[in-house]
Symmetry: C2
Subunit: 281 residues, 2 copies
């Protein structure tokens, strides 16, 4: 997805939020914002928003000196989600369509995003996700395609959300490679976050190598790119991955919650919408 | 008032909104935002927000080539407010405390601010302002002081709002000098806007000379500064004038509606609050 003019003030807001989480030093935060302000002129509107996110969160790391500002927040998110795990598993077991319920839960988990939003109630989100209509729902294709697939590449998004992804992975009963970011960026899951969520018990974990808040292939490792190019069935979670991958000619199903007015506009949808969207084949 | 870090993304948002109103040329709007982004590093947090507003809207004028982007919006605001004038006059006439009702109406008019907010319903705002409690209410001092004053300096804020100010001026029955900005900035009233509202029929109109969205004395004309320094009773409307003048040792009464979370925080108040606040004497 391209960058809209509306993304530019949002980038600065993200720099402020991340700066405040990384440090209490107002001077350092001001410096982060000054530098992000100067970066704006170099952002081509043709680039995808996570490409700018990559540079912004790099600045936050550099100036604050904190490598993983959201570490504690991520750990607490995961703890909270793990506490919900037994009841969510129970929900799936009892449901008429286990796969669809697990998908709904995985999308509900996508609300745990400290880049797009700080205010959310995960339990409320789950309740809503279980009954709400999808704005885009390629479920039949997803079910048929995933049934035929011999293995699945599952590109994760946020920490905490991994616990919900685990439930979908367990429900699909296929060999899964779960992809995490290579470097901490916002509250996106890295290796340790996936392990805390227990993903290693149900899937292999692979780093994409990227330090962007979205799987921009040019920023990923050669190893990951090879796996991606060879994958027969790909699940992509969240906005950042959608923004980076929506144009790829691969069999990808995007599972996401629309949390930003610009993406909503770009996709012809509304904030809050639930999306299960397959790429055209 | 000082500039908070939260003001910086807001400045960029204001540049975007004003750019979109001034022109449809996305490249020009991007250039406005690029330049405002680069300006951020030079904004001292000790400066008041309208000092930055001055530079931002100057950039919008320069790059768009449009001297008064909000001209049409201002004219329509004023027309709409003029249509409400007879019923508002009637409300004041019928009320138990005419002065207080006119003050409430003048504060309701302060919602017409395209810098802080684009969404407002003026009729709803008037209904709320007539009954709502003030968060700060130095009404007794205002009434006594204005009763004794032989003339009043009334510093206006937005176009459209002038119509509501006119009602307060008519109710006070004192000689009034009504102050407008020297150069168009956002939808702040300049000379022509005050005349459209009929202010010239009830008061003298004086330009402060400033091109800031607030009466920053250093940016005002020597003529205005002389009048300001000699004034025995001053009414200041709106956030921008409050931000610029709150620290002045003059007998000022600030009439405003709190429309921004940063000012709310700074004043220990809540967004939406109505304020009638006198300077300490």
């Amino acid at each position: 997805m391209k960058t809209y003019l509306e993304c530019l003030p949002c980038f600065l807001n993200q720099a402020l939020r991340a700066g405040r989480i990384a440090t209490n030093d107002e001077k350092k935060i001001k410096r982060i914002m000054d530098e992000v302000g100067m970066m704006l002129k170099d952002i081509p509107l043709e680039s995808s928003p996570p490409a700018s996110g990559k540079e912004i969160y790099k600045k936050v790391r550099e100036i604050s000196g904190v490598f993983d500002p959201y570490k504690e927040i991520k750990e607490k998110s995961t703890e909270k989600c793990l506490a919900l795990y037994p009841s969510l598993k129970n929900l799936v077991e009892k449901s008429h369509d286990k796969l669809l319920t697990a998908i709904r839960i995985a999308i509900a988990g996508n609300i745990i995003d400290f880049g797009a939003n700080m205010d959310f109630d995960i339990e409320e989100e789950i309740d809503a996700a279980l009954t709400r209509d999808f704005a885009v729902c390629d479920y039949t294709e997803f079910r048929d395609f995933s049934g035929e697939a011999d293995k699945i590449l599952y590109i994760g998004d946020n920490a905490g959300e991994c616990v919900f992804d685990r439930i979908l992975i367990e429900t699909m009963k296929k060999p899964v490679t779960y992809v995490v970011r290579g470097v901490p960026v916002i509250n996106d899951a890295i290796y340790g976050d996936a392990v805390q969520a227990g993903i290693h018990e149900v899937a292999g974990i692979l780093s994409s190598g990227t330090d962007a808040p979205g799987t921009i292939l040019d920023t990923c490792s050669p190893e990951f790119k090879k796996v991606f190019e060879g994958a027969g069935f790909i699940i992509s979670k969240g906005q950042g991955n959608y923004e980076a991958l929506f144009n790829e000619k691969r069999p990808i199903f995007f599972l996401l919650k629309i949390k930003c007015p610009v993406i909503a506009h770009d996709m012809g949808l509304t904030e809050g919408d639930m999306v299960l969207k397959g790429t055209e084949r």
